[in-house]
């Protein structure tokens, strides 16, 4: 069973990437679009002339780009499947629906993974940001775990589209609030107290803290564990939600509506 599930994830991931790769326009947009936001942030922070601030912005922008990539496409995944007429086939297949959706989100997140690396290189080479993590291995792991946390958020967004057709638009609407809430460009400590409560509930907030800590040579494991733990809870909740919204969609007859 586990082997079969892994095969499904691998084949879905590969074929979804192939589909993205085959549309030149989509492919270029996926690669270039996140860079616009990162560049804007770097240009703003460069004005102050503070190298530490530029590094702060570079790290934040790199994580920001993966959210940009995931939020715009993860919530549109099932809308696209509806458009193709394949959503009903995914549901009618014996494979667990949540696993099928998670596999597709993973492919989207892979493109987002590229965005992290590209943004760090962009910040280093074009803006001269100082990016030399004191703990490179922990830094890389923190980026990976944060990317996975974003993928889980994308999974959560995408499954809700099964029942509520217009939720796909929420992905775009959540893009900027999450930048703020998770402390990508502005420290969470500067946010109002009631907003900080929301920030701590989002796994990328902890991932961002871990990335910054690993970069500065400070202890990062607690933040990393918090990020992984909360993301795991989101994952379980999303998998449950996938089953619940599917039952609801079968009851209300919304699967084939586009």
């Amino acid at each position: 069973m586990t082997r079969r599930a892994l095969r499904l994830v691998a084949v879905t991931w590969w074929l979804q990437l192939r589909m993205m790769h085959r549309s030149a326009f989509d492919g270029v947009m996926q690669l270039v679009w996140p860079m616009f936001f990162a560049t804007t942030a770097l240009l703003i922070y460069r004005v102050g002339g503070d190298p530490d601030a530029l590094t702060y912005a570079a790290l934040g922008a790199s994580v920001m780009t993966i959210w940009t990539a995931i939020s715009s496409s993860a919530s549109a995944i099932l809308r696209r499947e509806r458009g193709f007429g394949t959503l009903e086939l995914l549901v009618a297949a014996p494979a667990p629906f949540a696993l099928s959706v998670a596999s597709i989100v993973l492919a989207v997140s892979t493109v987002g993974g590229y965005a992290i690396v590209a943004t760090l290189l962009w910040a280093r080479l074009v803006f001269g940001a100082h990016i030399a993590p004191d703990q490179p291995a922990v830094f890389a792991l923190a980026l990976l775990v944060t990317a996975a946390a974003f993928a889980v958020l994308g999974f959560l967004l995408s499954v809700t589209v099964v029942r509520y057709r217009t939720v796909w638009a929420l992905g775009g609407a959540l893009e900027f609030p999450v930048w703020l809430l998770c402390g990508f460009l502005v420290p969470v400590a500067l946010l109002p107290a009631w907003v900080r409560g929301l920030s701590w509930l989002l796994p990328p907030t902890w991932g961002m803290r871990a990335v910054r800590a690993a970069s500065a040579g400070q202890p990062a494991w607690a933040d990393l564990a918090a990020c992984a733990g909360i993301a795991a809870a989101y994952c379980v909740a999303s998998a449950w939600l996938a089953g619940a919204v599917l039952r609801s969609a079968r009851r209300h007859g919304t699967l084939s509506l586009s």
Partner: protein
């Protein structure tokens, strides 16, 4: 045990009206229908658009929950045991959708083979066999976006057969196909039936149902109005023969006059390119040709033919005006 058992199945659709959330009256798509399909049988569901055919198929393929009643496939309840049902059924629908256009035919099947848990070591052989079966082996590496409607439909059939399901649901599989492609598809379906698969077929094409189905239900407004073999349905329409008169400019009053003749069961007028076709169904053992033609002006008559009732005649009589919905 029947392969498919539907018992007093009802399915309503409730809709909310915009932001107010106010509920509109529920639409009763299926109103308590019952039927059974024996293993190896090809069963047809015929009816006008909106009659409830696709809703029945969606309930049986676990995509919709019944509002009331039960439906079972090979003994498994579609509402409470969907996973068991999904392993045992193939679902094929007509039209352009349901495939990944940017992937090749082979990659489409490879993906669905994973979704349908076809063992890894069997996938390549199974996909190769099915591509041969649907005559797409030489196009397997081409992207689906360049396929014709007929090729797509054949690929759909291959997809539906990947996990070798004993029960197949075919929802208007030949819709939009050209005559040659439709004939090829009918041959494929007939071969599948001959191989012992249980098939539920919905179609608008009467000759297709007549040729393929062992039994047929005619559904109208969510209820079954007739069920039987194609021959039984034809015999049950009450018409001994059908007089087909092609012509033009037949006034409504003349149609009513013919309808009122003793021995006439029903009269329909079909508008076709360049004229009309008057279809007069008459009771058995009646000779009404001369009297019917006597009602018509010579200038209104083209060709005249007398033939036995077809399944389409039975369908039109049973479905009535809704058939044009």
């Amino acid at each position: 045990m029947a392969a498919v058992e539907v018992d007093r199945l009802r399915r309503d659709y409730r809709q909310r009206a915009g932001l107010s959330g106010r509920r509109r009256p529920a639409v009763e798509a299926v109103r308590g229908i019952s039927f059974g399909i024996e293993p190896g049988e090809t069963y047809g569901l015929l009816g006008p658009n909106g009659a409830g055919k696709t809703t029945v198929i969606k309930v049986l393929t676990t995509l919709l929950l019944p509002t009331a009643g039960t439906a079972r496939v090979l003994g498994h309840d579609v509402a409470s045991r969907p996973a068991e049902v999904r392993r045992r059924i193939g679902y094929v629908f007509g039209g352009d959708r349901g495939l990944y256009d940017r992937l090749s035919a082979f990659d489409n099947l490879r993906y669905f083979a994973e979704l349908y848990a076809v063992p890894a070591r069997e996938q390549r052989r199974r996909i190769g066999y099915l591509l041969d079966l649907v005559d797409l082996a030489d196009r397997q590496r081409d992207r689906v976006e360049g396929f014709s409607r007929g090729m797509r439909q054949r690929l759909h059939i291959a997809r539906g057969l990947l996990h070798d399901p004993p029960v197949l649901f075919l929802d208007e599989p030949s819709i939009g196909l050209d005559p040659v492609a439709a004939r090829t598809l009918r041959t494929t379906i007939a071969d599948l039936a001959a191989a012992g698969r249980t098939i539920l077929l919905t179609t608008h094409y009467m000759y297709e149902a007549d040729e393929l189905c062992d039994r047929i239900s005619i559904i109208r407004g969510g209820s079954i109005v007739a069920e039987g073999t194609p021959a039984g349905l034809k015999a049950g329409v009450g018409a001994g023969s059908v007089l087909e008169v092609s012509g033009r400019g037949v006034p409504a009053g003349t149609v009513e006059l013919i309808r009122g003749l003793p021995g006439v069961c029903s009269v329909t007028v079909e508008e076709r390119a360049g004229g009309q076709v008057l279809l007069v169904r008459t009771e058995p053992a009646t000779q009404l040709t001369a009297r019917i033609l006597g009602c018509l002006d010579d200038r209104q008559i083209g060709t005249v033919a007398v033939r036995a009732p077809t399944l389409e005649d039975a369908y039109v009589e049973l479905v009535g005006d809704q058939g044009a919905a």
